[in-house]
Symmetry: C2
Subunit: 340 residues, 2 copies
Amino acid sequence: MRFARQLVQTPDGPIARVIAAGNGTDTWHDVRSSVRRRARARGATTEGALRIAEALVPSSMSAALAHGELFLDAAREAADDAAEETRVDDVVLTNALDPVSYRDYMVFQEHFSFGFRWQNKPVPDVMYEFPVSYAGDPLTFLGPHDEIPWPSYTERLDYELEIGIVIGRTGTALTPDTALDHVLGLTILNDVSARDIQAREMTSGLGPSKGKHFACVAGPYITTLDEIPDDGLRMTARVNGEPWCDTSSAEMVWSVAEIVAWASQAEILRPGALLGTGTCNGGSTVEIDRRLAPGDEIELEVDKLGVLRNTLGRPGTGSWRPAARNRESNGHATTLHFLR
Amino acid sequence: MRFARQLVQTPDGPIARVIAAGNGTDTWHDVRSSVRRRARARGATTEGALRIAEALVPSSMSAALAHGELFLDAAREAADDAAEETRVDDVVLTNALDPVSYRDYMVFQEHFSFGFRWQNKPVPDVMYEFPVSYAGDPLTFLGPHDEIPWPSYTERLDYELEIGIVIGRTGTALTPDTALDHVLGLTILNDVSARDIQAREMTSGLGPSKGKHFACVAGPYITTLDEIPDDGLRMTARVNGEPWCDTSSAEMVWSVAEIVAWASQAEILRPGALLGTGTCNGGSTVEIDRRLAPGDEIELEVDKLGVLRNTLGRPGTGSWRPAARNRESNGHATTLHFLR
């Protein structure tokens, strides 16, 4: 089963509607319309059916997933019916998931081994002790077709070809045996990166922030786990139509089940939480020594998950950047501050 | 002005209500009740007044702040009236803010200098180039009186005495001159840390995750910026009543205005976003070589911001942890995975 969201125009501006792909068809169906139709058939008034449908299937995918089996049953019914009345055409997809939280791991061995060599560092032992991650900003997600902004503070914008793990059911203290029951499905993830400032930030030990938090892309849709083979998915990247990466998802030091289980220790994973695998082997420009330019078209394709296509914007101008602090001979800043 | 949230019992379980401290009083007032009362006085029916009040003043502080001046005016009116009818007594405060996003900086020089020495590293230059941060989990916030969970995977739980900066108004591409217009106010922040696993994680360069994301505490209330003097606030910590830290907020390498301005470059700061200053000088047990134990009571006090008091729970048991990967002579893992 596949989930997505499309934008529709309303008198109050565009809003997102949750849609599901019809089983055995190539059509998309509006889940809220399906719920409304079924409620009418069971005796609800026109207004009552709409109230129930609006409550059960909100615009937010995370809010819909928070309704558990109530929502999933409704989505399955919409997909099974694949009714003419709920079909939507000329679909403009927006980000399938508005995540409630986002963390990104680093589990592809060739990728992280290259990354540490690039920084003149040995691969730290922790990479083989448990899955490690940084946290991203859940509020800056883009969808298919959105232009990726180019921050004024970077000269080296990069894509990262990854797989996103979408949590569908609340879970904590999971094990690899139980973890996959809490995963709704997978989606393509482009963890956009500003390499120069990211490398600078990571010398602090706190991980990337301005190098990552300006944008992240997920989509075009979410494919449920029952459709995903365990022997891996082919992952490819094209820039302006030219192949730049061709690899497999089955090269991870830690499995999806292990990543989710570890993430859930001492934490509650919520419906709509997004976990990234980290960049696949060869899945960014750094390791193939290429450069992106404004206007470039990035296409990320993963078997079963579709194609995620975005274009890079032009560098922003004129934004503020702190002037480096003056330091005394002892290395400490000469002035200290509070509010201003 | 001070904002907080209290828990009230309903037939559907406890819910949070936004409250404001009365101007010139020591009483708390329910903002939704105040809006309802004023709407009634302007001709709304009982039901109509309730609908408007529920929409304007939701349970979520971030959702309320998303209403901009509409909400802030309502809160000001509740505080100015300090009406007997809206007064709430025997208040049990919950977390004042349910943040939409959370990032934590590291701007106190003595603290970070100690931290790098502790890891046998020199202080990296980037600490004086711009404010650096890691991103936390906005979904795991606790409030005053909540017990802090002790994850099974740590033997060294720690508090961090910090100040939280609450964004009140959407902003992007700000400068230090405009940044403070987007700050609602400040609150006390306890960025709880599991030191052993945090140190291990940070050898990956990705920053802390399991060492931080299990819990964070904010509160007990938010004090608006107009009540905060620019020459700094006294910050103290007590453990089981014994003073462990006594310092000032006016020892930051980067100011609140600079932190917010830098955070807003190429990003949109949203109402309800929370930014931490990082630990104040001497504001954790590491730098004073003390240890916490289960059941310890942590009290963090900041002038103008109140006292944030929490007790540490008992270590969890029996949770799953990955077994380290076997590595070949070339240092690479012997098995690779995908789903399972």
